[in-house]
Symmetry: C2
Subunit: 141 residues, 2 copies
Amino acid sequence: MAVSGKSGDSEEMCPYRLVLEHVTSRWGVLVLIELLERPYRFSELRRAVNAYGGRGVSEKMLTQTLQTLERDGLVHRDAKPVIPPRVDYSLTGLGCEAAERVRGLAQWTEDRMGDVERARAAYDERRRPHEEAREIQSRAS
Amino acid sequence: MAVSGKSGDSEEMCPYRLVLEHVTSRWGVLVLIELLERPYRFSELRRAVNAYGGRGVSEKMLTQTLQTLERDGLVHRDAKPVIPPRVDYSLTGLGCEAAERVRGLAQWTEDRMGDVERARAAYDERRRPHEEAREIQSRAS
DNA sequence: CGGTATCCCGTCCGATACTG
DNA sequence: CAGTATCGGACGGGATACCG
């Protein structure tokens, strides 16, 4: 156990790169952005993250992500001792600083999506390995 | 081929999340930061990225990362038709904008590393499941 | 040098079952 | 509801061999 967040944690590397990988991890990004809005309960957060489309986060990965971010001091976990259990997650001051930068980056990708898609179209066009002289064929018959 | 960058590309999701994952991918982050400094040749870039410690990037993954970023219009690839081959990589205007934000985030993790490490120590302490009364044992013998 | 193609192992992560 | 434990498939990504 004592999960970390991404891959090569076992190897030695400058420690801040680990934090960076936690923060930029697939689900870390979305969790931070959502928590910047307001505190969330576990399942609520899961639903919010899954609303982004694609295949959503599993309970396991959400737990793992939250634990990593909590350990790094970015997320605060408030477990109320009631039945049924209720756990609220929120950003710490530190986490808020990180989340703002992450949201900025996400916002940027959203804003520039048009440019990116045009670049992709151009790239794909440039690489297409000559596929003409096909409808000329079919016309001849 | 036509590699993407991370996992669930095959699934449908809001397209900007894909770009975000490319930009925040393990090697994408470091490549963007390095290219913000100056243009690099392939192997030179590989060495620069590997200088971050840990297990470095393989040729394959660097190629993959650069192709993805080039396709998204963030990186410019300049292949000079000489022998031996020489290929220079640099940021486009778009890529520069992205890289600046990524570098900001990386810089933040570096600056706040102290806080993070203190939070981790506290977290680990809090969780240590009572490991006293051990040296008392060894003393008794 | 700067790739591409192929193989294949380690890890991530989803599915499932169980606890408080 | 909010987890923890375990298993197994999928895929990220390293090693190697080979082109221009």
